[in-house]
């Protein structure tokens, strides 16, 4: 026995949420061929079915591209600081992909690690994630290689599984239950478990490679192509790096957080000009090391949900999957010192 909702009932429910004052966001075409998560005016703007996934991710609803941390005002020699009391909008994300939702528990660890970042946690508390399981995937999808899949529940408040007609509704949290209470009907049909994209690499093997040969020349080969544009990180559901800067004028301004990316030269540049990651090979290595070694060593899982956005959005088709293939086929038995010299050159 399960609960179900028809497509029409779902869409009218979405319209109810909107008219009830909630902000509702979901995959929507902003122009032909460009699907993004967008705030919806009505349920008709939702793009459901027949599309793989948006070019961006839902992380922007928790870690916005740009956000104010506090304000400062100058008064002669004195400065006044004004804290921000963030009251985030009550948001429902509908039609999130499982690989987007699964990134949230991963990000939770970063933003609650020792110091709690309330800019993140308050938005997290105010947001309900209604995910739709995938029935379509492309060559870039590899969720099944990182222990996830097209119907995983991780990070979702509600998981909708497409049926021949409508959806099976699985409310996973109280927040999710509140949204769907009384809106579903009992049903005999259970959604068939989707098989998902074939497994493309084994994280255990990758882990061994990343713990072993730090100076693998594969990084240099990859870096020759990389433009250092940052698209991979900005469209990644799990990348969370940011910069902190000031924006203001002679009378005051605000301190802000902006998205940043380890593929930029300035990311690690010291004031002295010394840069520990001074070439693109070291920066490409950092990206993969962080996702498949550094984060896992700290938090026990990989910093990647297999969405494939990095490769889809990369102007030169790099990204995690491409790198994994290159790494797996790289020759592991070289002279490490010889390679060390080449990578630092």
């Amino acid at each position: 026995m399960s609960e179900a909702i028809t497509q029409a009932a779902l869409l009218s429910l979405v319209d109810d949420w909107i008219s009830g004052g909630r902000t509702v966001s979901g995959p929507s075409f902003v122009k032909e061929g460009l699907l993004l998560y967008e705030d919806l005016q009505n349920a008709g703007q939702l793009a459901l079915g027949k599309v793989i996934r948006p070019a961006d991710s839902i992380k922007k609803y928790f870690l916005p591209r740009h956000e104010e941390l506090y304000r400062y005002t100058f008064a002669g020699q004195n400065t006044c600081l004004e804290n921000i009391d963030l009251v985030p909008v009550e948001r429902v994300i509908v039609g999130a992909r499982p690989c987007d939702a699964a990134a949230l528990p991963v990000l939770d660890k970063v933003f609650n690690w020792d110091y709690v970042d309330e800019f993140y946690t308050r938005r997290r508390d105010a947001t309900t994630v209604v995910t739709i399981a995938c029935t379509l995937w492309d060559d870039q999808c590899f969720c099944t290689s990182v222990g996830l899949g097209p119907a995983v529940e991780k990070g979702s408040d509600v998981l909708l599984l497409p049926l021949a007609e409508g959806y099976e509704v699985r409310c996973l949290t109280e927040k999710g239950q509140r949204l769907f209470a009384g809106k579903t009907t009992p049903s005999e049909t259970m959604a068939a478990a989707p098989t998902g994209p074939e497994r493309k690499f084994d994280t255990k093997e990758i882990d061994a490679l990343l713990h072993g040969d730090y100076e693998n020349p594969v990084w240099r080969d990859i870096a020759l192509r990389c433009l250092g544009c940052g698209s991979c990180a900005f469209t990644c559901p799990t990348c969370h790096c940011f910069d902190i800067t000031d924006e203001g004028n002679a009378s005051g301004g605000c301190r802000v957080k902006n998205w940043d990316c380890c593929q930029f030269n300035m990311f690690t540049m010291h004031a002295s000009g010394h840069n520990p990651r001074s070439n693109q090979a070291q920066r490409q290595r950092q990206r993969i090391q962080h996702k498949f070694r550094i984060y896992p060593d700290k938090f026990g899982e990989v910093l990647c949900t297999g969405c494939g956005n990095c490769t889809r959005n990369c102007p030169v088709s790099l990204g995690v999957l491409t790198t994994m293939e290159a790494l797996a086929s790289s020759d592991a038995g070289r002279d490490a010192t010889e390679n060390a010299a080449s990578l630092k050159g």
Binding site: Y72, L81, C241, D243, I244, G252, D260, A271, P276, R293
Partner: protein, 277 residues
């Protein structure tokens, strides 16, 4: 809202220029209650704000025994430090911290201490020197080796004279060849050579080495030759930081977040890390 990025307002109570481009600043919490509640351990760092320009990471270079103020020291090299260069007594700046780990001053009790600093790297050593001198009975011999490019590049030069007068304390100062003035009475040479010449006893010693990566690289083999083990050699890393609290993602050296697990590492720990520093 508890905002981890929100600094405390500090009043500047003193500014001192050390070289053509290095100054140190004394600051005090504007709110006296915060002064009473605040404590740190030598070796920890803070994020210092020049509002309108941004934040920079500096070691807190005063001793943790000085309760009424803290100090930091910087070189004028970028936007934030250009602004800090213009601050005067009475101005307000921001401070977040203390962050990171600290020198294991308790573990060092009973040991001889060798402090080696190059260039602007003196501040992160200065806090430990004062701390050790203020607890003089707890430590063995203290040797301070401080090298700068020229005779005009010493930071806290007046304090070097004070340290030289402390009991069982030796100060070795050197300038790079060509950096001496006619009345330079001290050593000439690069730090690694000067250390070799100085014949510092290594037995029961720990060494704290801070300086440009190139200086550290050439100093380590000398310490090794003297017989110091990799567990007894410490340094403080200076990776670029923004948040200081393990969120912004840029300070890592391989698997280690320098802002959280550092900035102080033993050479033994560094050997296990990739060369991202």
């Amino acid at each position: 809202m508890n905002n981890i990025y929100m600094p405390e307002l500090m009043k500047v109570i003193g500014v001192k220029q050390h070289t053509a481009d290095v100054k140190s600043v004394k600051i005090r919490f504007q709110d006296p209650a915060t002064t009473d509640a605040f404590s740190f351990r030598v070796g920890q760092f803070g994020m210092f704000s020049a509002f309108g320009s941004g934040e920079s990471t500096f070691n807190i270079c005063s001793s943790s025994n000085w309760k009424d103020h803290i100090e930091f020291c910087f070189r004028k090299t970028g936007m934030v430090t250009e602004s800090l260069w213009r601050i005067e007594e009475g101005d307000s700046i921001g401070f977040r911290g203390p962050y990171g780990n600290s020198y294991p001053m308790e573990d060092w009790e009973g040991r001889n201490l060798i402090f080696i600093g190059g260039g602007i790297a003196m501040p992160p050593i200065r806090c430990a020197i004062w701390y050790a001198l203020e607890n003089r009975a707890k430590y063995g011999d203290i040797t301070i080796v401080y090298g700068a490019r020229t005779a005009a590049d010493f930071v806290f030069a007046d304090e070097l004279d004070q340290w030289a007068q402390a009991e069982r304390t030796r100060v070795v100062r050197c300038v790079d060849p060509g950096g001496e003035t006619p009345d330079w009475n001290y050593e000439v040479g690069l730090i690694p050579h000067v250390i070799e010449r100085a014949a510092i006893p290594a037995e029961n010693s720990i060494a704290l080495v801070v300086g440009p990566p190139i200086m550290i690289k050439f100093t380590l083999p000398v310490l090794d030759k003297m017989g110091l083990g990799t567990k007894d050699i410490y340094t403080s890393l200076e990776n670029r930081m923004k948040c200081g609290v393990g969120k912004c993602g840029r300070c890592n050296c391989g698997p280690v977040y320098v802002c959280k697990e550092g900035p102080i590492f033993t050479l033994e720990q560094l050997h296990r890390l990739p060369l991202d520093y």
